[in-house]
């Protein structure tokens, strides 16, 4: 059960912000996102500038899909990590975790609120 930073160590080795964004977008593109049948008003994450959906699929997998490629990538990373994390790791996870490892600053304040809401919602699933 890897820590968030260890699971995505490749990203944290990059220096250039644009390269980081591209890596995040690439990660989202390469991930199977939340199936379209789950894109409903109930699964919509509040506070995001562009639509982002988050839900637990029938298989038990938590997944997300967002219209913004960057937000989609970050949401996919969070879901993938969360699906393999221990209960303790899940409980301790917050926006501060992403701030501490330098990921949150890649997002504007408005988008950080959206990610905070995503984390709050994921804990209810």
């Amino acid at each position: 059960m890897l820590d968030f930073q260890d699971m995505f160590s490749e990203l944290f080795e990059l220096d250039d912000a644009m390269d980081k964004y591209e890596w995040i977008i690439d990660y989202g593109t390469g991930t199977v996102g939340l199936e379209k049948q789950y894109h409903t008003d109930q699964t919509l994450v509040k506070g995001c500038t562009s639509p982002l959906w988050l839900a637990k699929e029938e298989s038990g997998r938590i997944a997300a899909w967002g219209e913004s490629s960057i937000v989609n990538g970050i949401a996919s990373m969070i879901c993938d990590w969360y699906n393999q994390a221990s209960q303790r790791q899940q409980q301790d996870f917050s926006l501060n975790t992403l701030t501490d490892i330098g990921l949150a600053p890649l997002l504007s304040m408005g988008r950080q609120n959206g990610v905070a809401n995503l984390i709050a919602k994921i804990k209810t699933l």
């Binding site: 912000a17 644009m18 977008i25 593109t29 899909w65 490629s69 960057i70 890649l106 988008r111």
Partner: protein, 398 residues
């Protein structure tokens, strides 16, 4: 022109293309506000002391200079200070509502929310809102206005509320014709001048109300102007209080006979005292500012890659909104920010228009008199680069 703005010396790392939201500050404004706070802070109106008298002088001088700038006679009867465009528009609309029991308001579909919402709040059901559509070029379709307004009986009170330049489209609406239509049907006219006032010479005569914010005109935050036709001095203020009266007794009140009637309470005097030098500078540089605006509009109209972005329209002034062919506006904004290029994206407080002309959000690049052609080109180059990066990762909808 750029040298007049200390921001660009202090923040040489930043490419600032969000001037439609707020402009950077003229050096005299920063200096004068600091001087006021540190050396001259006193209250205006009937102070009886020399410091207060100096503030009074600056207050009256600022109105005289605005009068000179905008060619307004008797500025003391026409210029109302307030906190900004939103308060100015709300005050104008409240004043109309206090004077008329109801009617129809014709609002440009390209308007900012601040011109729409005061009419649609609960309790304002006596006013029916009719939107004015756009013509094929994106300007307000005044044939549409004229045909809609003719459908209304003469006895119905009418208001025409439009912006001079939309904060989404950057197109200059035909204010002369709007004025004529308003006169023909005896409609009250309200002009939101927020986007035009820092760019173009504005003919304000003949309108009932014209509102703008000074923070978009290289000036201070928290200060706006509402120009009123003197006929509105015949009505009671919507926000009465200190400064709006000459005499009060337990059973009567005598309002002032000038625009201070609508300026109750202490005004933002540190900002007002910074206006004289700012307005003198605007008068001196009016032609250069206008020429610069036109030249940047041409640069961006000529250079935008239509294969990568769909501009809402061509632009006349101040700004251009784009819809990416690939990717979300959020992606572009965040990635430009990583390059220290500041733009704005989203619904731009103009949702009725945004929903009509886009998929729900747009990118906006906007400039001021200090913006260089090179900055516009840098932003366009980076937008192209981001488009290319996103194209490599075309996201699949599951």
């Amino acid at each position: 022109m750029r040298d007049y703005f200390p921001f660009f010396k202090r923040r040489q790392d930043i490419t600032y293309l969000d001037s439609a939201a707020t402009s950077q500050t003229l050096y005299t404004v920063a200096d004068d506000m600091r001087d006021f706070m540190l050396s001259n802070k006193s209250n205006a109106h009937r102070s009886g002391n020399s410091m207060g008298t100096w503030v009074d002088q600056q207050y009256h001088l600022s109105k005289e200079l605005i009068g000179k700038w905008l060619n307004i006679n008797h500025p003391e009867k026409r210029i109302v200070y307030n906190s900004g465009t939103t308060q100015g528009l709300n005050d104008a609309i409240q004043l109309i509502m206090s004077a008329m029991s109801g009617g129809v308001v014709f609002i440009g579909i390209d308007s900012h929310h601040s011109l729409i919402l005061p009419w649609t709040q609960s309790g304002n059901a006596k006013w029916r809102v009719v939107f004015i559509d756009l013509d094929k070029d994106g300007r307000l379709d005044l044939d549409d206005l004229q045909s809609k307004i003719k459908l209304e009986p003469m006895a119905v009170s009418k208001v025409i509320a439009v912006n001079a330049v939309s904060n989404v489209l950057g197109l200059v609406n035909d204010l002369d014709r709007i004025k004529k239509i308003a006169l023909e049907v005896a409609a009250v006219s309200i002009i939101d001048a927020s986007q035009i006032i820092s760019k173009r010479k504005l003919e304000v005569s003949g309108f009932d109300f014209v509102a703008w914010s000074w923070h978009k005109v290289y000036g201070p935050m928290g200060l706006g102007c509402l120009l009123i036709d003197p006929v509105w001095l015949n009505f009671d203020p919507v926000r009465p209080g200190g400064g709006s009266v000459t005499r009060v007794s337990t059973d009567s009140v005598t309002w002032t006979d000038n625009a201070t009637k609508f300026e109750s309470g202490t005004q933002n005097l540190s900002a007002i005292c910074a206006l004289p030098k700012l307005v003198e500078w605007l008068i001196e540089h009016q032609n250069d500012i206008e020429e610069h605006d036109i030249s940047l509009a041409k640069v961006i109209n000529d250079q935008i890659s239509l294969a990568q972005f769909t501009p809402t329209t061509r632009t006349d002034s101040g700004l251009l909104c784009l819809e990416p062919v690939i990717g979300s506006v959020e992606d572009y904004t965040m990635m430009l920010d990583a390059k220290n290029i500041m733009i704005r994206s989203g619904k731009l407080c103009a949702e009725p228009l945004i929903n009509q002309i886009s998929n729900g959000a747009l990118l906006r690049l906007s400039w001021g008199c200090y913006t260089t052609k090179q900055e516009i080109e840098l932003a366009l180059d980076n937008l192209g680069d981001i488009h290319a990066r996103l194209s490599r990762h075309v996201q699949r909808a599951v």
